[in-house]
Amino acid sequence: MHEMSLCYSLLDTIAVHQRANMDKRVGIVHVKVGPLSGVEPDLLHHAFLSCRTHTIGDQATLKIDTSAIKVRCKLCGEQSYAVVNRIICASCGSWHTELIQGDEFVLQRIEFIPSEISTEPKERQYVR
């Protein structure tokens, strides 16, 4: 449910950048979502379709990249990948780990398109 409020925050951020690109329309919006960010990519996608209506992102496409969880072990110093409910060192098995990557929810880049070119495909297909 909180994906809705996060989408409004996303659209606010897009609006700031769109003002600097006045003649352009918002095309593809790339966001990165980590498994520990508390954001569910599918729900975010659905929320975006509802939230973008009558905003500057009206015809925008949301492209969601997911990242992996990466930790550094405080005991053995090794870096390894982890899964969401076993955030332990893959090398020595310790839970004294420090998160390097995996909790981000970041707007990476926005592709702006000149407004005279139609971006609307015949069927509404959105890259996931």
């Binding site: 925050s9 352009k24 508390g38 969401v84 955030i87 004294h96 998160l99 990476q108 592709e111 971006t119």
Partner: protein, 248 residues
């Protein structure tokens, strides 16, 4: 295939419209609007020397009861107040007010969490100058509140015995956020032999959290002492830290 009927006509290739697009690299944290407000809230709390504790758990795990017992035991030592978050009703705020402590209810309607702006809006009702501790009882939910910093200094998470000992690994984002985990309703341990405290702690460690774990029971006498001790110790540690900062 053509994409319409499945015949062998090749699908019409749509020309990419890349030549005129311009790409703006942003790399902005999308929780920043909430986080900015949370930083403001925290600065406000620090300026008034108020320690803010965010209580999170499933609905019905004993947050309000824990607050009532904490207020009863410690209100002579600390000036406390409570912000209650629920979808509807003033019930929890009324329970707190019965103990002579100010409580403000935030009814979120269908909202699943409190955010930093909601907390800020209600802060005007408190005299922060006179407060030592402000509790924020978040909406009972193990998912959404974890994503929203409110400006608190301490996240307390309750895991009640009837919920089962594997909750941390089921809700890793929430339990990672904990600064301390309370295993509540330990009086139910005698009826729930499937709940194993050691297993609950192990599950909590699996999500990479090495925060302290305290067992509490609000209905039995002397079963909250460890929590009170932790609470007082945390406040004292904070006070001496802020004294040092001022001295320096």
């Amino acid at each position: 295939m053509c994409g319409n009927c499945g015949c062998e006509t090749p699908r019409k290739i749509e020309k990419p419209i890349q030549q005129k697009t311009n790409v703006v690299e942003v790399h902005a944290n999308l929780k920043s609007s909430n986080d900015t407000q949370a930083i403001t809230n925290r600065a406000l709390f620090d300026a008034h020397d108020v320690m803010v504790i965010n209580l999170m758990s499933s609905p019905g795990s004993g947050k309000t009861r824990l607050l009532e017992e904490t207020i009863t035991a410690l209100k002579s030592q600390y000036n406390m107040a409570v912000i209650e978050g629920d979808l509807e009703t003033e019930n929890d705020a009324n329970r707190i007010r019965r103990h002579g402590v100010q409580a403000e209810q935030i009814a979120t309607g269908q909202g699943c969490h409190l955010d930093a702006n909601m907390v800020f809006k209600v802060l005007g009702k408190f005299n922060l100058e006179k407060l030592d501790v402000l509790f924020i009882e978040n909406v009972g939910n193990l998912i959404c509140p974890a994503c929203f910093d409110l400006g608190q200094h301490l996240n307390v998470i309750l895991l009640s015995v009837p919920e089962g000992d594997d909750k941390p690994e089921k809700y890793p984002v929430m339990f990672r956020a904990a600064d301390v985990m309370l295993i509540s309703k330990t009086d139910y341990l005698q009826f729930h032999d499937e709940f194993n405290v050691a297993r609950a702690i192990q599950s909590f460690r699996k999500v990479g959290n090495n925060a302290p774990v305290i067992e509490v029971s609000s209905t039995q006498s002397n079963q909250l002492e460890a929590w009170f001790a932790y609470f007082i110790e945390t406040i004292n540690a904070r006070d001496s830290r802020s004294l040092q900062e001022r001295g320096a």
